[in-house]
Amino acid sequence: MPKFVLDGKEIEFEQGQTIIQAAKKNGITIPHFCWHESLSVSGNCRVCLVEIEKMPKLSIACATLAADGMVVYSASDKALSARNAVMEFELINHPLDCPICDEAGECKLQDYAYSHGAGESRFNEEKTHKDKRVPLGPLVMFDGDRCISCSRCIRFCDEIAKEPQLTFVKRGDRVTIVTYPGKQLDNPYSMNVTDICPVGALTSRDFRFKARVWELSKTKSVCNGCSRGCNINLEVRNNKVLRLTPRQNDEVNSFWMCDHGRVNTYKFINDENRVDGPYLRRGGTLVRSGWDEAFAAASSELKSYSKNEIAFIGSPYATCEDNYALTKFASSIIGTKHIDFMRHVDQTFGDNLLRKDDITPNSLGAEIVGVVPGKGGLNLEGIIKGIKDGNIKALYLIEDDLVEGNHELQEVFAKLDLFITHSTNFNKTTELADFVFPASTYAEKNGTIVNFEGRLQRLRPAVATFDVDRALEGMSLSRWDKFGTKFDSWAEGNKHDVRSTWRIIVGLSGAMGHKLKYGVAEEVFWDIAKNVSSFSGLDYGKVGELGAKLKLELNTKTVTA
């Protein structure tokens, strides 16, 4: 392999790599604004200037190909003074907006102003003024003053989103970014420009002024918006999810995620209508009860039906652990073979970049862990028909609002004698239920989900529930979480009395007299790994942060991708 020397350290590279790429591969970051790993090279910010021996002038590391035997200095006096000078130019017209700017705290310009800035300005003239607070699209806010014209956002729209909606207009210090006339920045991936914008010129309208970024704790999780399973960070303050940001995983989503996932998949977690504690129906209305009381009542109700009168419906929204616990409960404790789940497919949702038509995160996982009808058991259609005919008298449904998606089911479920459901929020389905157990959302539990191509990925709890202590549970802590007490209004947030579905099933099975011996989610996973061949040999450690590909024997029904 060819080698070159960077700051006295020998670095191997592949032919065709630029200096900045080779350096990054070796863990050295050369300062840069306009360069981005997965965008084309623009070379306009000039911050990555490096000194190369035998070259008459400094070169930009992002556009200079590494060559065998090259000697590069990224921090020599000459390179540093050039970088400092470039920073001085960048800061000439940049407003002192940091106190009101959402980017503050994760701003490249701020970081480099610290490391390369002079600390004061020699520019006595008035700074240029451009339009501030311009809504470029429904989700992105633009501030012309702050823009350093790196063109990352333009290149993103052209090259990744394939919708060229942004462009530069004007020249020199009047240059600014606009949408094409009559167009908005409204492509399905528009909010990624707020992530790649190195300054606060493009910010999210959804997250606007909600929190300062240093107040947020970050938890590595997976988006639940569709079956792609984009890797994300759940960013939480005061026990509330405030935003989702994409997390790099080259096997799944690269650096990106879609706007639907970013904006629409976390609000229900903070919603007012969360199911808080178990509810059971008394005299026509749902009444809050204690856990033991609800378990006892539900188990005695379940016992009064014969096993063929009871059907189970799993969920492609629930984790593998939850679905597995449900199948185990159905087969070994109730003894029924009527178990299935409903797929949710939206033909208009998918595209060629990330979005998939299957809008549930774990339909493949539910199928693999066994939420499929046993021999002679009824599938979903059969179960619905059975309820209509009166053969199925009791239904146990987890984490899926079936009525919302299909209003005909309202009449069907009304015929049930016993309807038990686990739900995160009150909805059209819980209106019909006799028992509503409060289920944790994906942000409140440990678990695994399987994406459309069979990659197993971990969910981690980011929001504490009623009986959870963040520190003891090993959840990520912000400074506020670390030092807050129960007397501080900003520390504990709204903790809901909810449990993971598998845990509710363990509790209920205990009341039925056949205890499932699971203490934590990983124990359920070990049981899956023991009994499901695709999962064999895996544990949470091996799944890790980036997931693990399952060995799939595709005897299962092909999932609509």
């Binding site: 002192l96 940091c98 106190p99 009101i100 503050a104 501030k132 607070r133 606007r208 002024f209 909600k210 300062r212 240093w214 107040e215 400074r479 506020w480 030092f483 807050g484 007397f487 501080d488 209004s489 900003w490």
Partner: protein, 164 residues
């Protein structure tokens, strides 16, 4: 064990005690006619100098709008985590304002770092030192208690401009 005697016994005058009483009383008498330093608090209030760090307050401009833009730096720098700020958008030129600004006066240690870090000169230490609560809720000072007209804080602001 023999009793240990004092090395120097008291003289007769010292023993009779009266001269010492007279000495003491004369000191008292002398001080009675000197100027008094005692302040009749609470009837009479102590007005501290501009360098005094009383409870932190928010500066309210003459048009009734706070200077604070809810940047959260005071909240970040506060060693005992006494300050909670929640920003929101406004139509004003400054774009954001604190929809909630709460100082927990049970946590506050009057260190003045909040006013030192403030980029807008929006939070300053006042001269108010009369803080007493009977329950935890009362110790949470919201915007209603914090907002103070800039006129009342002028000498602190001048002091900061000279010495900050």
């Amino acid at each position: 064990m023999a009793l240990k005697r004092r090395e120097k016994d008291l003289t007769f005058l010292e023993k009779i005690y009266i001269p010492e009483i007279v000495k003491g009383l004369s000191l008292t008498l002398k001080n009675m006619f000197k100027p008094k330093f005692t302040m009749q608090y609470p009837e009479e209030k102590f007005i501290p100098p501009a360098s005094y760090r009383g409870r932190p307050v928010l500066v309210m401009e003459e048009n009734g709008v706070e200077r604070c833009v809810a940047c959260g730096l005071c909240s970040r720098v506060c060693p005992p985590l006494a300050i909670e700020v929640q920003a929101a958008e406004t139509e004003n030129e400054k774009e954001r304002y604190p929809v909630k600004f709460e100082i927990n006066m049970l946590r506050c240690i009057f260190c003045g770092l909040c006013e030192e870090v403030c980029p807008e000169e929006a939070i300053v230490m006042s001269k108010d030192y009369e803080l007493a609560f009977t329950n935890r809720k009362d110790a949470l000072y919201g915007k209603d208690k914090l907002l103070t007209p800039v006129m009342q804080l002028q000498d602190r602001i001048d002091f900061l401009r000279n010495y900050k």
